[in-house]
């Protein structure tokens, strides 16, 4: 299992398009990916669930990934938070 913490840096929180992209990305892997903020946890397979987390700038979230391709998935999601978000 891979667990990693990230901070949302955009002032308004995760924008609509990155949210959609994150869900799309997570769905390409077999592993089950989930996102946790405080004591709320959701699976990263639903845009609605992600939106309902109400992520704001400065929030700290934890991503859990578990499954056969967790290494690849972990890298891709890490890359998403570190690189892609900057360009959006």
């Amino acid at each position: 299992m891979i667990t990693k913490e990230y901070t949302i840096t955009a002032a308004e929180g995760l924008h609509a398009r990155p949210s959609a992209n994150l869900i799309r990305l997570a769905k390409t892997f077999k592993s089950v990916t989930s996102l946790k903020k405080g004591d709320k946890v959701i699976k990263l397979n639903s845009m609605l669930n992600l939106l309902s987390m109400g992520l704001k700038g400065g929030d700290i979230i934890t991503i859990h990934i578990e499954g056969d391709d967790e290494q690849v998935a972990g890298e891709a999601i890490n890359n998403f938070f570190k690189e892609e978000l900057k360009n959006l």
Binding site: E12, A16, R24, S46
Partner: protein, 576 residues
């Protein structure tokens, strides 16, 4: 045609003037049928209908996507919509309602979408209400495909159309033809609704949130929209029409100027770079200021955060406020002025004593140093926000150095407190003062040793130096920032700042006054903070001026003995 002028007030969502004919956008309202499914076949059939509607909806959005330019602003709305249309959570819930609760697809979709929209609305904040609009939009599209009969005839706008609608769905805004639609007005919505954002990006004037009064408008009524002020005028008189046609032309000229100058640096012809900052009150101002070419915030008035409420905002709320602005500034400076109430600014929940001279009384830093509880809360919140950007603290109304020392001692205490709480902050946060009391201007050499920067507040400096209340009609003619006495004080502040190597800026009205720009450059001022809309014009003056000439102008001004002569001379200088 209705000859009475109706003025409707809404929220200005996208600036600009539009004049055109009204087109009322009708919406199909989907309602529940209450039908209960009675056989397994029906259930199976409804699930298939739902899945087909999802597929058709996605195909439709993909088709819209292909029809517009890649990278056009707002295209992300379509990606989001596709994602929502195939959302697993929504799909699961709809199918569950069909199979377990025997609802038909139409009712199941309405219930699931309504519940989810409400969930997002309850999250508060403009961002989430924009997302709930996306979701509603996706839901309506599904319902349209479920009920083929409900597909409305597409209304085709003619030239110079002004759309009048309940609300405009996010996906509708991006397919709108900006060549034909000159503006739109909606009953619902706020400044950050999709409709508003897309309108802004397309340069279409828009007024949102007008409420029920919009029902008064009929098709083909002549409509004027003032998108900056949030005004909608229905069937104007000829005079009003002429007035707004002129306003419209001026706005277009201004926009061209803005776009041309936005990314141009404010560098004089002899190569000196000048920093142009914006005076702001909230995060929206910060963002808007960048469109005018600002390079950060030279004055964040924190009063707005304290007004229109019933009690003081706590540390957490203040922290959120400062943090959002710091993040919006994206690394550019944000100078936060600590609470500046008293004088003519009051808080309904904070009783200030009745004073015979409120401007000479209990106000600004004097309150902060007396009510250290309030001051500490504000400082803690600013310090916590300081890790999210280039945040600086500025103290208003400093009259002597002891106030600075006292404030610094309190700041140290607050820093220690945060360290104990193990909260991150910028330990080296810059601390500056407003120079707006003559004693501070005269003793700038002393104060410079104690602070990191000065910012000249010309409004109060002028009022206190000349002993003139500018709100008093009988004496306000004496209120004159070009009074040689006021100018000499300013010159001293700039000189001492440069002698002691601390940064000096100006955040009063004079900083945005085009007639003063050359004089201030000549004095040696290199940082101007003003209302964002003044930046482009001041910038044009700077890029066409040289410091050599500005110095000559300043030297000549200092030989003149009265404000009238100085004003006249500076006007002549700008004409050249």
């Amino acid at each position: 045609m209705n000859s009475i002028i109706n003025n409707i007030k809404g929220i200005g969502a996208s600036p600009g003037i539009a004049i055109g004919k009204a087109m009322l956008l009708k919406k199909v309202k989907h309602v529940k049928t209450g039908i209960r499914l009675s056989s397994a076949d029906e259930t199976k059939n409804e699930i298939q209908r739902f899945e087909k509607a999802v597929k058709n909806s996605i195909d439709e959005v993909e088709a819209i996507k292909k029809s517009i330019l890649v990278n056009s602003i707002g295209i992300d709305i379509l990606d989001v919509q596709i994602e929502l249309l195939q959302d697993e959570q929504i799909t699961t819930e709809v199918i569950e309602k069909i199979t377990c609760q025997y609802k038909n697809a139409n009712d199941a979709v309405i219930e699931v979408i309504d519940a989810s929209v409400e969930l997002l609305n309850n999250l508060n904040g403009d961002y989430f209400s924009a997302r709930s609009a996306d979701l509603q939009d996706a839901g309506n599209r599904l319902l349209k495909h479920l009920n083929a009969a409900g597909i409305s005839d597409k209304q085709v706008p003619g030239e110079n159309t002004i759309i009048i609608a309940e609300d405009i769905a996010p996906s509708e805004t991006i397919t709108m033809d900006a060549n034909k639609i000159s503006g739109f007005v909606t009953k619902m919505g706020g400044k950050t609704s999709h409709a508003a954002i897309v309108a802004k990006s397309k340069g279409i004037p828009a007024v949102v949130g007008c409420g029920l009064e919009l029902d008064l408008i009929k098709t083909n009524d002549i409509i004027i929209i003032d998108g900056a002020e949030g005004n909608v005028i229905v069937n104007p008189t000829a005079d009003v029409l002429i007035e707004y046609t002129e306003k419209k032309n001026n706005f277009l000229k201004q926009t061209v100027l803005l776009n041309d100058l936005k990314d141009v640096k404010a560098i004089t012809t002899d190569g000196v770079e000048i920093t142009l900052l914006a005076n702001i009150s909230n995060a929206a101002d910060m963002e808007a200021s960048f469109a005018f070419g600002s390079e950060g915030c030279g004055l964040l008035r924190t009063e707005l955060l304290f007004m229109n409420r019933t009690s003081f905002p706590d540390e957490e709320e203040q922290f959120e406020f400062y943090k959002t602005i710091a993040l919006k500034a994206k690394g550019k400076p944000v100078i936060v002025r600590t609470l500046d109430i008293g004088g003519d600014k009051h808080l309904p929940y904070f009783n200030l004593p009745g004073e015979s001279n409120p401007f000479l009384g209990y106000r600004a830093i004097r309150i902060s140093l007396d009510r250290t509880d309030l001051f500490k809360t504000q400082l803690a919140a600013i310090l916590r926000a300081s890790v999210f950007g280039d945040v600086k603290i500025m103290l208003p109304m400093i009259s002597n150095i002891l106030e600075v020392r006292k404030a610094k001692a309190i700041l140290r205490e607050v820093k220690d407190g945060l360290a104990v709480r193990q909260i991150k902050f910028n330990a080296d946060i810059a601390l500056g003062i407003m120079i707006e009391i003559p004693s501070a201007a005269v003793t700038a050499d002393l104060l410079a040793k104690e602070v990191d920067f000065f910012s000249i507040g010309t409004n109060d400096l002028c009022q206190y130096t000349l002993a003139v209340d500018r709100l008093n009609e009988q004496v306000k003619y004496l209120y004159e920032p070009f009074n040689p006495g006021v100018l000499r004080l300013m010159q001293n502040v700039v000189d001492q700042g440069s002698k002691y190597n601390i940064h000096t800026g100006m955040c009063g009205e004079l900083a945005g006054d085009a007639s003063a720009t050359l004089l201030l450059l000549g004095m040696g001022l290199r940082e101007f903070s003003m209302s964002a809309s003044s930046i482009p014009y001041v910038k044009t003056l700077i890029i066409n001026a040289s410091i050599t000439r500005a110095k000559e102008i300043c030297q000549h001004v200092m030989t003149l003995d009265n404000a009238e002569a100085i004003t006249h001379y500076l006007q002549e200088c700008n004409k050249q």
